[in-house]
């Protein structure tokens, strides 16, 4: 089932070094790139159907075409390498194993959108990763792929790495921009959208690492080659991260559209310890949980996930075996989002705290059925009433656990009564 597009060089020793990467095709697209017009590049990416891999799945080429034309301001690209959504661990493989693929992707994107300075926002915890990335950037400057010209072509491009320092919210695109501007990572109200007013009040494109790293293949092989993989509306491949209770957790590159159950059983070696399945979180901790019944019919693409009332998200799949205490899991989840709230909206800052207290009360055996209902009510009252969707990233999954595993909450409550 596995394919190797993005991960083509992952198995090659020292492929993070320019010399080795070049032997395996790094930067080969550049001559072709500069023979195309920026519009042709955008069209090729549009045709490939490449969708943003940061979570929302917005078509990359379409996003680029939102940039206003003819403004007397620089255009910026910021590459989102914050990778902090629980259960997501794909981008760092690119940073460490094939950073030149990312840099080549940045060159492609910048040429297409007319950007001469790209910032890579990388989470502060990625220490070894930032070293690998900076080393590759230094190599690229030295070899003339970045700087005054790009591989001898009249195109000036700088790439600067900006390190975060432990705030999940900076993965949200406007919080990320605030953070680069030297402020607290507090999301902005939209509109205006970053494509119009972004970094330093200038038009800005924000894309995920994996989105950008997919570009060299698309430009070199063409949109049609890319579309051979995946489904019609969810083309291409994705670096899926499978974690939790499976025999072979890890990062696997797969075409989109595969049946989830088959992937768990064959690629990830099935549920561990011979246990049965309780549920699957399909795309990072903020995506609604799927029951074993739903897991049988869902496929790994945006449309099927939506049809199952959940989301493709970041492709971080978490497998839960029969022993998982759902109420404890919900506490762990709320704890995370509450801790990471940036604090500027009351429903998020306070509401998630209340939710946490209620779950703790239920777990301590002091809850009642009314508390379960209150939890549900809070979800409805918090969601979509805040500046960004961090609060919904908590309430959407919590609601799914309340709906699908209500009996586990009731068991805690019933225990107290008896």
């Amino acid at each position: 089932m596995e394919v190797k597009i993005l991960s083509a060089k992952f198995g090659i020793e020292n492929a993070h070094l320019l010399e080795v990467a070049k032997q395996h095709g790094a930067y080969q697209t550049l001559d072709k790139l500069f023979s195309m017009t920026p519009e042709q590049v955008i069209d090729e990416v549009k045709n490939s159907g490449l969708r943003g891999r940061g979570g929302a799945g917005f078509p990359a080429g379409v996003k680029w075409s939102f940039l206003p034309k003819g403004l007397d301001k620089p255009v910026y690209l910021t590459v989102n390498s914050d990778e902090s959504e629980p259960a997501t661990f794909k981008d760092r493989h690119i940073l460490v194993k094939d950073p030149h693929m990312l840099i080549e992707g940045i060159i492609i994107c910048c040429y297409a959108i007319g950007c001469h300075h790209a910032y890579i926002y990388i989470r502060g915890e990625y220490t070894t990763q930032v070293r690998a990335l900076q080393r590759a950037i230094d190599e690229a400057y030295e070899a003339g792929y970045l700087g005054e010209t790009v591989a001898g072509h009249e195109f000036q491009l700088d790439v600067t790495v900006h390190r975060g320092a432990g705030a999940y919210i900076c993965g949200e695109e406007t919080a990320l921009l605030e953070s680069i501007e030297g402020k607290k990572g507090q999301p902005r109200s939209k509109p205006p959208f970053p494509a119009v007013v972004g970094l330093y009040d200038s038009p800005t494109i924000i894309n995920n690492v994996q989105t950008i790293a997919s570009l060299p293949y698309i430009i070199w092989e063409g949109a049609d080659a890319y579309k051979q993989y995946g489904t019609e509306r969810s083309p291409g491949t994705h670096l899926f991260g499978i974690s939790g209770h499976v025999n072979k957790p890890g990062m696997y590159e797969l075409p989109l559209g595969l049946p989830l159950l088959e992937v768990i059983d064959t690629v990830a070696g099935g549920v561990w310890k011979g246990r049965s399945l309780k549920g699957v979180i399909p795309g990072g901790s903020s995506t609604p949980v799927l029951t074993p019944e739903e897991v049988k019919t869902v496929t790994l693409d945006y449309e099927s996930m939506a049809a199952h009332k959940t989301m493709f998200g970041s492709g971080g799949i978490v497998v839960l075996d029969e022993t998982v205490d759902i109420v404890e899991l919900v506490k762990n989840l709320i704890d995370f989002y509450h801790h990471e709230s940036c604090g500027q909206c009351t429903p998020c800052r306070e509401g998630l705290g209340w939710m946490l207290k209620i779950v703790e009360k239920i777990l301590a055996g002091n809850g009642s059925v009314a508390d379960i209902d209150l939890l549900r009510e809070l979800c409805d009252n918090i969601e979509m009433k805040t500046v960004c969707v961090l609060s919904a990233a908590c309430t959407m999954p919590v609601r799914s656990y309340l709906n699908k595993f209500r009996h586990e909450f009731e068991a805690y409550v019933a225990d107290t009564a008896s």
Partner: protein, 168 residues
């Protein structure tokens, strides 16, 4: 997350060493506004001194041409900036979903029961400090521990004990 309630003074002035001075100058021209240098400068100060003191905050503000309160605001918002000294070995244990599912609690309990430190604490000899942190992006090799920035994956109690024994 360490105690972020106050700023501690060392009583000695702070300045970047030659290496960080050069790094500051290399980076400052990369940003159209100087405030963008607050986070990189906080990182450099922390790497140089191990933590961020009142004097470091003043120095950074001065160097960038902004108010100390602006620098402090970021130093408190972003949880990786340490506003008090940490141990020689600073242990971060991931407490989030996948690590929780794969047994991070054994490690947390061991640190509390055998080493005697709870999240946010440091051993008396200053050897180990410990905090629980959120998802470290290594969920496929959970549970994960980061010590002085180095990742240690697929931990269990036995491996963790062996790892601590190598730290002198």
């Amino acid at each position: 997350m360490s105690d972020r309630s106050q700023l501690i003074s060392t009583g000695e002035s702070f300045a970047f060493d030659a290496e960080r001075d050069a790094e500051f100058e290399r980076l400052v021209v990369r940003y159209p506004i100087r405030e963008s240098m607050i986070m990189p400068a906080l990182w450099m100060a922390q790497e140089q001194a191990g933590w961020i003191s009142a004097e470091a905050i003043e120095y950074i503000a001065d160097r960038i041409g902004t108010f100390p309160a602006k620098v402090l605001e970021l130093a408190t918002f972003y949880t990786m900036y340490q506003l008090k000294p940490v141990g020689r070995y600073h242990i971060c244990v991931c407490r989030t979903l996948s690590c929780w599912l794969r047994g991070k609690q054994d490690i947390v309990d061991y640190l509390a029961d055998e080493i005697g430190i709870k999240p946010g604490e440091m051993t008396e000899d200053g050897k180990f400090s410990f905090e629980e942190v959120e998802c470290l992006g290594h969920c496929g090799t959970a549970p994960v521990v980061q010590i002085n920035g180095e990742f240690h994956e697929e931990m269990d109690l036995k491996k963790f004990k062996a790892l601590l024994a190598t730290l002198t």
